[in-house]
């Protein structure tokens, strides 16, 4: 019986391998009869989990409810957002500033919820920018990006933003090794081996969440791919997968796939801290920005940092160790106990499971197989707990249910495999549609997984939904994992390309002190108008500052004259509402920058340089009341040099001149 199962699954694997992601015949059969009931959340009722999903190349994060898969919100992080004005309004522009200038669109891959004692705590969620390397922190009381820190000496910030079990650090590893920022980077590309370095960043997270690069580790020039912190017994260690240990700089598809084994690099960050205390770190010049959002001034600021502390892994021998791992490892996942480290060689046909205890023992007994670029290489067998044999093709990522089971995605054979961590036996496998990347179980990479659901994020959608031209949404598939067998419940399209996702029980976040509006008394925006008495228009040279208020359903002022072509007009709009869910919008004809959306009690600024003479209507863009259509006004633009005086009013027609 068992034999037949293995043979038939092997056959499926082989067939799938041959035909790539061809569609199995029994798609419909894969869904159980009670699936609809399991995902139905009645109108007005809440979902059980918040599900935070990376937006991939959209640069944003989407928030779904599970199990209904209802989209609750899209939170802008690394890209401008034409819904909220993020990255367009004068206050938010500094959030997207970098040492390269303003970057309006990045690529967002992984998310990690903050943890306390290894358990998800519902305070913040961290996000990485892959392209121009940065880490962001989103406050889960406001669902707003409140901080972004840039990472110097890095490129392709992929193994990020994974955290330690008390959110002591959020880490980042460079996927593309490059010459360091303060070295002369004007070198031939084929000098990779001499000049290119791989940097790992450890970003300290303060009590209020504030981020600061504590130190960077200079490691060999390879591609650091993914990472996870040790937990429990392995707290104090971090594990990074790396590929391209061949150090190829061209046609990586072939040239970085030569070695039978690459590495998982184990980093003893507690040791690194000791070295720093002992003064072994080296301060190195580097330019990177630190952007912070202030909830009282409703304004971001961007500050340039100029220095970073670097530890050299070649010199400080007992920080880093290499564990051989077959075939270009991708996922690097640590089980809830902290004992098992799972490397997923994306070209391998097995999954190696390493033991933390064995690894430590091997280090103590110096069971090394030489060095790689000055870093000790632990003997494969000395660190290996065992291998999951013939699991499928192209293992990528593993999550855990807290019941001793691991769930691994297989890109090539397009399936998820459930296996027992201790016995390494395969327990179940389900096909997914098609070609999964990450999977996510609520709390699935923490010490305390909540289990119950698993969402698999597939790279290919193909025929799953009604066609929408050449571009198709990516697909998520929701599974019930409460029983022995994984059960498909639901397919749903997503925003951008979800890579990793995280979920937390709804109560943890909805009861964390959710902000409903900003108290107008606490609004310290320099251009706030606290009440209509403070509504005014002031000219300073060619700058015109409009202190405007909005409340259902009018603006103050709503008649403005005396603005001239070429003026820099700043509309500082304060929303005077003090109630939940009453934003107002602001748009003026011809604004070539953006519109605004202003939360209750908030002030936001739109910059506009009028180019034409005429009358320009402005209005509220967010339906606010029965008289929303009345919420509008006019601004008169006169020619440059005109003598029309600056006037502003509400409810009184100015005397005709």
């Amino acid at each position: 019986m068992n034999n037949i199962f293995i043979k038939s699954s092997l056959a499926i694997v082989l067939v799938s391998a041959f035909f790539g992601s061809c569609r199995p015949k029994d798609t419909a059969d894969a869904v159980g009869g009670d699936a609809a009931q399991k995902v139905y959340v009645a109108p007005g009722k809440y979902d059980e989990f918040y599900n935070f999903v990376s937006g991939g190349f959209s640069g944003q994060m989407s928030v779904y409810g599970l199990p209904s898969a209802r989209l609750l919100r899209v939170v802008p992080i690394f890209s401008q957002d034409p819904q909220s004005g993020y990255g367009y309004s004068e206050e938010t522009k500094p959030m997207l500033n970098t040492s390269h200038g303003y970057v309006p669109w990045d690529d967002q891959h992984h998310l990690e919820l903050s943890q306390t004692n290894g358990e998800v705590d519902g305070r913040w969620i961290f996000a990485n920018a892959n392209n121009t390397p940065r880490i962001a922190r989103v406050d889960l009381k406001t669902f707003k990006t409140v901080e972004i820190i840039e990472l110097p000496n890095s490129a392709g910030n992929h193994s990020s933003p994974f955290i330690t079990e008390n959110t002591e650090y959020v880490v980042a590893g460079t996927r593309f090794s490059v010459p360091t920022d303060n070295a002369n980077g004007d070198v031939p590309i084929n000098t990779y081996k001499q000049n290119f370095k791989g940097y790992l960043s450890f970003v300290k997270v303060g009590k209020e969440g504030q981020m600061d690069i504590a130190f960077q580790i200079e490691a060999p020039g390879v591609n650091f791919d993914l990472s996870h912190a040790g937990k429990g017994k392995s707290h104090g260690w971090f594990f990074f997968s790396c590929y391209n240990t061949e150090q190829a700089n061209t046609l990586l598809e072939v040239n970085a796939s030569q070695n039978d084994k690459d590495y998982i690099m184990a980093v003893n960050w507690k040791k690194a801290e000791e070295y720093i205390k002992a003064g072994k770190g080296k301060k190195v010049k580097a330019k990177y920005v630190h952007n912070t959002w202030d909830e009282k001034t409703h304004t971001a600021k961007s500050e340039m940092r100029t220095e970073v502390l670097v530890l050299d892994s070649k010199v400080l021998k007992d920080i880093c160790y290499m564990i051989p791992c077959p075939k270009s490892p991708h996922g690097c996942d640590v089980d809830p106990t902290g004992e098992y480290i799972i490397g997923s060689g994306k070209l391998a046909a097995l999954i190696p499971v390493f033991s933390f205890d064995k690894m430590k023992n091997a280090i103590a007994k110096k069971q090394f197989d030489g060095e790689y670029e000055g870093i000790p290489v632990i003997k494969y067998e000395a660190a290996l707990y065992g291998e999951v044999k013939k699991p499928g093709l192209g293992p990528l990522h593993t999550e855990f249910d807290g019941k001793g089971n691991a769930y691994t995605t297989f890109f090539v054979s397009s399936e998820v495999v459930k296996w027992d961590i201790k016995s390494l036996k395969i327990l179940d496998r389900v096909p997914v549609y098609y070609s999964p990347g990450h999977l996510s179980i609520p709390g699935g990479d923490s010490k305390k997984p909540f289990g119950k659901y698993m969402v698999v994020y597939n790279k290919i959608t193909k025929d799953r939904y009604l066609p929408t031209g050449p571009e198709l949404a990516q697909a998520a598939q929701l599974f019930d994992i409460s029983g022995d067998k994984m059960k498909l419940l639901l397919d749903y399209p997503t925003i951008g390309e979800p890579h990793y996702a995280q979920s937390a029980p709804a109560d943890l976040i909805r009861n964390n002190g959710q902000l409903k509006f900003y108290k107008i008394e606490e609004n310290n925006h320099p251009f706030v108008a606290k009440g209509e008495k403070e509504a005014k228009v002031i000219r300073k040279g060619n700058q015109v500052h409009v202190y405007m208020t909005s409340i259902r359903s009018h603006f103050a002022s709503d008649n403005i004259e005396g603005v001239k072509v070429g003026d820099e007009v700043y509309f500082h709009v304060t929303n005077l509402e003090q109630d939940w869910d009453v934003p107002h919008g602001f748009a003026i004809k011809g604004a070539d920058n953006a519109e605004l959306l202003i939360m209750p009690g908030e002030t936001a600024t739109l910059k506009w340089i009028p180019k034409k003479v005429g009358i320009f209507p402005f209005y509220c863009t967010d339906f606010c009341s029965a008289l929303h259509q009345e919420m509008s006004g006019y601004l008169r633009v006169s020619p440059t040099g005109s003598s029309v005086p600056l006037t502003f009013s509400l409810g009184t027609n100015m005397p005709a001149k």
């Binding site: 009722k45 509006f517 606290k530 009440g531 209509e532 509402e577 009453v582 409810g651």
Partner: protein, 162 residues
Amino acid sequence: MYKLTFFVVAFVMLTSCGDKTKTNDDFSKDTAAPSEESATNPTDAVAYDPNRGIGKHTSVDLGDKLDAAMAAEGEKIQSVKCSSCHKLTDEKLVGPGWKGVTERQKPEWIMNFITNPDPMIDKDPKLQAQLELCLVRMPNQALTDIDARNLLEFMRKNDGVK
């Protein structure tokens, strides 16, 4: 329109959330407001007291004379949170003018209404008539009890109490 929807939703949540009652309540707008009654089913057929309205303010002690300091505090709040929609005369702007309001309404009614307007707009016959004229539901401006009391004093001043 949105508000109506919200109340339907809130009603469904409050009445049918079953085992989630414990956790759903703290997030609903009604229970977040300071009023006790609003935590119960707003459509309960309990008799509505048009003199007092709905809310925790059952008796408000007014002094014989105006408290000028309180009235001054109230005026500050009025300029930030009220003046966009209410004139101090009897002229309607978005909502009715304030002149005479302390003579038309009991202090308890005013305190309850301005601290938590939504349940009263749904119940109070005068407010419903007013809504037909104004078409904008008075927004909850997140007044504390002290804010509300100071505003009431300012309304009294506006009505000539010395």
